[in-house]
């Protein structure tokens, strides 16, 4: 049901994008407003906030994009994360690093020289991480005592590959300073599971749902290093 809803929303979005392209055929004004092209770098501020609120979780993500044409941007995210998953019968922690690379398409038509975006994008993500099973309880008949194991088991060298669809808003709040809010829907392509256990959380991918899908949110602040105007 959720997939259907997302697909429907994407469809609506693309229909609107194509409708907008038709408008481009209207003869243009002779005055051309130039906008900045360059490298934009920033950090995700939701992860440091989560690190403060929950001492068992921490993370840092650096985001960057480079404008390659009027509407297209090459984008990448690089991060490191530690996240503890608490379930009824298991408690496990994932630690590792990830990289995401892809493209953003700005579907927002700016007025004059404004530089805001409503963008959709695609990413390829890769993570390398380890997962520690901190403790677990054997799920057995409650009439007899339960077996609880508190000896941590760490499995290193796990990897994950996934693809990601991104939707986001970006606003230039001061000259060359941008605030971005974006959400993503992720589909796992390949994932390692520890022997006789499962990867519950992959850095960058976030929680691995039963259908091998995931969701992500970013709130970033970034600065544009302008190289040229055109």
């Amino acid at each position: 049901m959720l997939k259907f809803f997302i697909k429907t929303c994407l469809l609506i979005l693309f229909v609107n994008v194509s409708a907008q392209q038709k408008n481009d055929s209207i003869p243009k004004d002779s005055i051309v407003y130039k906008t900045n092209y360059g490298l934009r770098l920033g950090i995700d501020i939701s992860k440091p906030i989560r690190s403060i609120l929950q001492d068992y979780n921490s993370g840092l993500e650096i985001v960057g994009d480079y404008r390659i044409s009027k509407k297209w941007y090459a984008a990448a995210e690089l991060g490191n994360e530690k996240f503890t998953t608490r379930e009824d019968f298991t408690n496990s922690t994932s630690r590792g690093s990830y990289i995401k690379i892809g493209l953003n398409y700005n579907s927002y038509k700016n007025w004059l020289d404004m530089n805001n975006e409503i963008f959709t994008g695609f990413r390829y993500g890769f993570a390398t991480f380890e997962q520690t099973l901190n403790n677990y309880q054997i799920n057995s008949n409650p009439l007899l005592p339960a077996l609880i194991n508190n000896v941590p088991i760490t499995v290193k060298g796990l990897t994950a590959h996934w693809s990601e669809l991104v939707l986001g808003f970006r606003a230039e709040v001061y000259p060359n300073i941008f605030l971005t809010f974006s959400g993503s829907y992720k589909i796992m392509v390949s994932l390692n599971d520890p022997v006789n256990f499962k990867t519950h959380y992959a850095p960058g991918f976030n929680r691995v749902y039963t259908s091998n899908t995931g969701f992500g949110f970013n709130y970033t602040i970034s600065y544009l290093i302008p190289f040229r105007k055109k």
Binding site: C9, I138, N139, S140, L144, P145, G183, K198
Partner: protein, 157 residues
């Protein structure tokens, strides 16, 4: 209008990512299934009158029941459990020895145990239990108990 759709999509994503998508519905640690048969006509099941089942050191599981099959849990913290089975105040003791193997099931169910090299022995007094096999011997071994779909042990009485 487009902004509005995007906002709705983002809110939908936000809400859905918090919802629990996984409930424990898979089978967990199996109990041992015991079926009671007639010792004089070994193909026929026979209910036990006034049956009480108590694991040694724990609370009674069945009391004064009239059943032809029971489910008894095995202790995952040990390699042995002793059951007192009584019928009309005649007590028989069965001793179960086993190895515990831990198997991961799913995120919500966690780990279950399965039991290997299970041996079941009834005491030789034969108060009401006559045997555990069709030739009425007092010991039976089961290679593995990993489900509850069929009886693991037949008790002839």
């Amino acid at each position: 209008m487009r902004k509005y759709y995007l906002l709705l999509t983002l809110i939908a994503l936000l809400v859905s990512s918090c919802e629990k998508d996984d409930f424990c519905i898979e089978p967990i640690t199996p109990n041992m299934v015991i079926r009671f048969y007639n010792a004089t006509n070994i193909t026929q099941t026979k209910s036990v009158e006034d049956l009480s089942v108590t694991p040694e050191g724990f609370d009674e599981l069945y009391s004064n029941a009239n059943l032809d099959s029971i489910l008894i849990p095995l202790d995952v913290t040990s390699n042995q459990i002793i059951y007192n089975l009584s019928s009309e105040s005649n007590i028989d003791i069965i001793t179960i020895n086993y190895d515990v193997e831990e198997v991961f099931v799913s995120r919500s169910c966690g780990f279950k145990a399965i039991f290997n090299n299970v041996s079941v022995t009834s005491d030789v007094s034969n108060d009401w239990i006559i045997g555990l096999t069709e030739t009425l011997e007092n010991t039976i071994t089961i290679p593995t108990i990993d489900n509850e779909t069929a009886a693991h042990v037949k008790i002839f009485h």
